[in-house]
Symmetry: D3
Subunit: 303 residues, 6 copies
């Protein structure tokens, strides 16, 4: 007797609800960061953790896992999940947001094999990454239309354009970042140069489209990888619910090919999905895609 997706209290994939600091262990621990004050355009990412949880109910795994038609096998069989709820948001105090987010992320990370973080605008990736400051030679694979390596925007150094700059500055263990899906009319020249100076891989969407095998081949192998998916990496036709859409982005299929490749050639130590604004998509397909992306990526990471 299982609920339809519209039934029951929505924890991620029907996982038990736990406290970040509680006495639990699971393969996957989920933490929401409902913060969207750091973006510069259309708000709504604060509603994303709850929306992704609701959408995840279409993809709630059972013990036997997901039967795959093509391979006649089961995925994610036996995997255990826990939902650690959301970081408690203050009003205005972005300093507290970062502090609490890092704290909770550390706690969740300590209790599971793969922590999954549901943003929130992209600024949350900085305090999330900080919880991985002890990982040796940490690699980041970022799917994103934008570089998010800007030093300062709108008089702030903590906007959603800066998370990886801040992380790179404060985390000596952050070795490398690969950003895939770059496109759009405006780039910050200083940020581009700074990222290139650090040896980061800046992969445009044109490259993804035209030289996909080369792009896959250029990704890290055998590393400890944190994956950060800004949903504006996707084509706005595929995922319209985001603050700052840029045309000609990823399809789900191509994004999953990247994520599958990354998961199979490395050890994924964490995953975040950010910049989903469910209020901008009345069709609901944006959060359904985000939820499926999380679950299907876990199929690969835990395979």
């Amino acid at each position: 007797m299982t609920h339809p997706p519209y039934g029951g209290v929505a924890t991620f994939a029907r996982a038990p609800l736990v406290e970040p600091s509680g006495a639990w262990r699971a393969d996957v621990g989920v933490l929401g960061v409902p913060f969207d004050l750091a973006l510069g355009f259309r708000p709504g990412a604060r509603f994303a953790p709850r929306a992704i949880r609701e959408a995840s109910l279409r993809y709630a795994p059972t013990g036997e896992g997901f039967y795959d038609l093509t391979t006649d096998s089961f995925r994610l069989a036996g995997a255990t999940f826990a939902d650690a709820g959301d970081v408690v948001m203050p009003t205005l105090r972005d300093d507290l947001v970062r502090e609490r987010t890092t704290d909770a992320a550390r706690q969740v990370r300590a209790r599971c094999r793969v922590p999954v973080f549901l943003g929130g605008d992209h600024s949350v990736s900085f305090p999330l990454l900080r919880a991985f400051d002890d990982v040796e030679e940490l690699h980041v694979v970022q799917l994103d239309a934008h570089l998010d390596f800007t030093h300062e925007r709108g008089d702030s150094t903590f906007s959603n354009s800066s998370p990886f700059r801040r992380a790179a500055e404060s985390m000596p263990n952050l070795s490398h970042i690969s950003t895939l899906g770059l496109r759009g009319l405006r780039f910050d020249p200083e940020a581009v140069r700074a990222a290139k100076a650090r040896g980061h891989a800046l992969v445009t969407m044109t490259s993804v489209r035209e030289r996909f095998e080369d792009v896959l081949a250029s990704l890290p192998t055998g590393k400890l990888v944190y994956v950060s998916v800004d949903v504006d990496a996707f084509d706005p036709a595929v995922l319209p619910g985001t603050s700052s859409p840029e045309p000609d982005g990823f399809t789900y299929d191509v994004a999953m090919k990247v994520l599958r490749h990354v998961a199979r050639s490395n050890r994924v130590v964490g995953l975040d999905v950010v910049e989903l604004a469910p209020n901008l998509d009345p069709s609901g397909r944006s959060e359904l895609l985000a939820a499926r992306l999380v679950v299907e990526t876990l199929c690969e990471v835990l395979a």
Copy 2:
């Protein structure tokens, strides 16, 4: 450190999440019934339990209760809540829906002082009421634009037009029903006559508007009362999110005056709120009102 309303997993008023049959006790136990197959027009009430839970976070009581400006006192202080989740919905099988709903309602009722049920279309009030078949001389106070005492509609005897007819038939202990807010262009003459024959009070919205004190005076006193609020009792301007709106209904203020009066002069044994269709109100005010109505009614019931 408390969440803003958009933060955290949404249980009713941040109550602990329990199983209907679990080992818990609380002043208030909440159960959702996400079923809307029995209505005859615009679906969406299946989404109501979750929407009301989310909206209830604006009204989550703290231990000290709600400070009331006018009386300089605290309401609902110390009250305990538990959220028993939703009844598990099958596909199509309305017989199973009724069976499971009655079962879960009995379990919740056994564990709390006041069970609160979140519909669902109004057909769920029949299986909910059945869980009170042992209450001696049960009275119902129903806020509703429609009588819902029709024998059969659309070849079914279990539609959302029939819950009280079915309850009256099968529950000898159901002594009396007062229906307030009746209006609209079409009434079922057979249903009206049957209700009148049983001595029910049929109170039109015109009466509520023009003879309010008389209406209050005519309500039951000193009884065990089950309260059923069909949100189409409200004016559609006030609550647009419902399948079958009828103009010229209750304001929140007048509805609360009725509910306060009922709560203070009787013992309320249960409460349901039904026919909310959050998908029909993009402003979100419909579920906010429904959630507040539940919490504020509880202020009176538990006073």
Copy 3:
């Protein structure tokens, strides 16, 4: 075996579909005029005839009529309806719109006791009224936030601000107009003076609210009356789906009291409902109200 409101092809109140010039007779003939090029703000009234037809299915009378709870009697029993479809709209050519509308209105009028016209913006009332140019001493009762008696607006004399000015000019039989519900920040002084010079009754919403009995008493008696309901007469809370809403308008109840009074003291020769923009109200209650208003007015007119 009757359809639920969402079933079947939507003719008005499930009436047979006829041609305006066909061989039919009915108590009520319905004609749509899906024209909204003459308004100066937000379009959408072109969608109103179809939306009102759909909404009318909630109020489709059966042969026995509508049972009234309060009077224990049946309304509209035995009344026959025909739906003559819509006037065929050209592109841009408002001259053709007026010509075709008057022609079709004459045809429908010749075949029924009470023609009902579904606008369109208010400019259509001029060509509709022209179909009544043979009615001796024609009176108009207009529910409207605006006077619509302006000579010229935006370089046109046929805008939705001018229908009654054009009718008054060209129809010597148009004796008198009562406009109820006037309010808003801006009036055309020339139009006000011209209307007053003709002896029209200009009744503000404040008067309706504060001196309702006097207002009713001032309405025509024993006349042949054409009723024109601009839905912006209603409070935007009650009916948000209109191009140019003005706060503090009619509730449904008060509007029906006016229409009932007019119908009972006069012979209503025609009715139009205009300026409904269903695209501006995702709750759908605007067209439901408009449809009910038509049907309930007919209950009084055919009583």
Copy 4:
């Protein structure tokens, strides 16, 4: 003088409105089945028949047919249409729905060359197919993200996951089913095995994308074919208005290539389009696509 798409009462492609059992003959007979109680997620398919009718007015053929730019020829010239309205929906009684649907479908089929059925959720394809139980060696070509061959879901054997299982069980003449567009995270292993055991063709979307010519070549030839289009076969970017969208589906172009191929190599005996939820797509493009798909498929079927 023809209506713009927003004018006139909306029958399919402006066809005359008939009764399923009436005295009519046409090349194409259209029947709506506004039923969506059997789906397990987001309702709205009950609104599809009316929405597709409205959208079809953009594609209403004239006598001379549709001029094709590329071939300099006319399509669908002289074809006659009739709209038989909708099956009358009861409340809750899915047994009656199936009975009435099969009856009406038989009546429509008996009066036209190609019956077109507008769902409704996919459960209606079972009672529709039953109306073809006398067709020798019936083949089905199904465009769908899901297999819909599940034995039981949610305690029911008549959900929208089961129509083809029920048909296969009860119709010995149902020889073969080709399902194209399969994708998604979860498949029912028992259903997959049962379908394969019957020799059905299970074609994933990956195959459609990567081996399109092979897929076309594998389709039936020279058969009597019933075509069932579940609109969730389409990419949600292309058609967002559906209950259970799955990313990476058909474009219109590729779907039409499949349908054209099927129509040209076989005799199409019936067509259904199901699972459209117009309420989930405020842009209106979902029903426009569904309507065009029906009309353009008929161009091929009647060529």
Copy 5:
């Protein structure tokens, strides 16, 4: 030749666009503060200044003013307007927001008789009020469902619950605040006591409804008054587009009666309208009401 409301670049009431610090003088100077990071629920007030500007085009005064039907006179004749644009918003840095807002407000105030401020959430009233720190014995009349006199919320002292507390602390010249429209389930007892200790008038909506003449009589007379309108003072039926709606609020008519009374018995030195979230009201009536409120209040203030 004047634009319809949808034509032309939208400055407030088609006023010339100026810089706050420019060389201009006008009766009315308008300044927007598109800031909504300090609210605790649903964002969107950042979009309000632009939405109110667009809506104001329906109320753009001409030189001759607005003709009033009832008094046969013209209002706002000859009044001059200037639109000083918006305060430039940084990212996250609420300290800068307050600083820049006070600076720009001072500049605008220095150049006009009546500055009008378009919020933003209610937190902006603190930096706006600071621009009036030289006004002797400043009185505030606040229309609001909430008191907004809380010391701290969500770890911040600058939330939209605290603007008047901060102003009272830092502005010795702020003599008195009258808050009208108070209602809702939860009040901050400490804030209530602090406001009462300062002698503020706390007027509930119940008082407004039941003792309106007394309420008017209790308002300041002969003072220099800053008016702050939080649009959640309105009934959500009347104005649904706001973050935190509370049922049973002001109608437009009653609110205007208050504002008219205040304007006629005092000198209004400034006006703000805050907490409008146009994204929450697809009917657009919320911003239309806000715009009209500003213009009609100015009719009284400049009379």
Copy 6:
């Protein structure tokens, strides 16, 4: 200190606001034509000029231009813009619309290198093109799903199906039109033949997809070109906000490749973007794409 996109009064790309006939010079002059009475389906293009202006704020160039990641260079550096506002729309009088539009377009054209026109429905391209009647051997490149070369539709010769027919008739200097993106079910055979007789290039979307290099090669070279972008050229998934969407259209990338090619091989003398209906796309991505298309095309035109 620059505004975020939601801040400040929205002129195109933050250009100074000028009068068409004023004393200004700029590289780019922008003129809006908020007219949508000539389309035959869903209105809303009247809202497009303002919506595109708002969206353009995401792409407001700074003096140094847009840094391009791939080429490490700056685009549009130093370009100057002016926003000449909108043509003043009358009511109904399409003759005046054409007259005023041509007049204003001539004025804008005289003051800038590249005039950009924001429609409105496609009928406005006729009066816009007339402002170029002195350009020797004018070529048009039109991106469009439809030919728009019909002689008469709906009894009018000035509908949005006829702009290029009218222009071809009245402008002997209009040498050639290339239309790219043609598709859909219905073409006007007379229009197709007339266009072919004039030697126009009619390029279907199928050709664009399958023979892209040939299509590019067939475009004019070394000419004076007016570019007209009907946004229904785009795939409705990519740009849903348009009156008459047709599936399988341009992606942004392919459209830009065409426009880049045209701009680099010719001199672009003017650009219009028409048929955007922002009211049909609640995600807002339609106007964001239209705004970016304008700015990015200018990057090429001014390169």
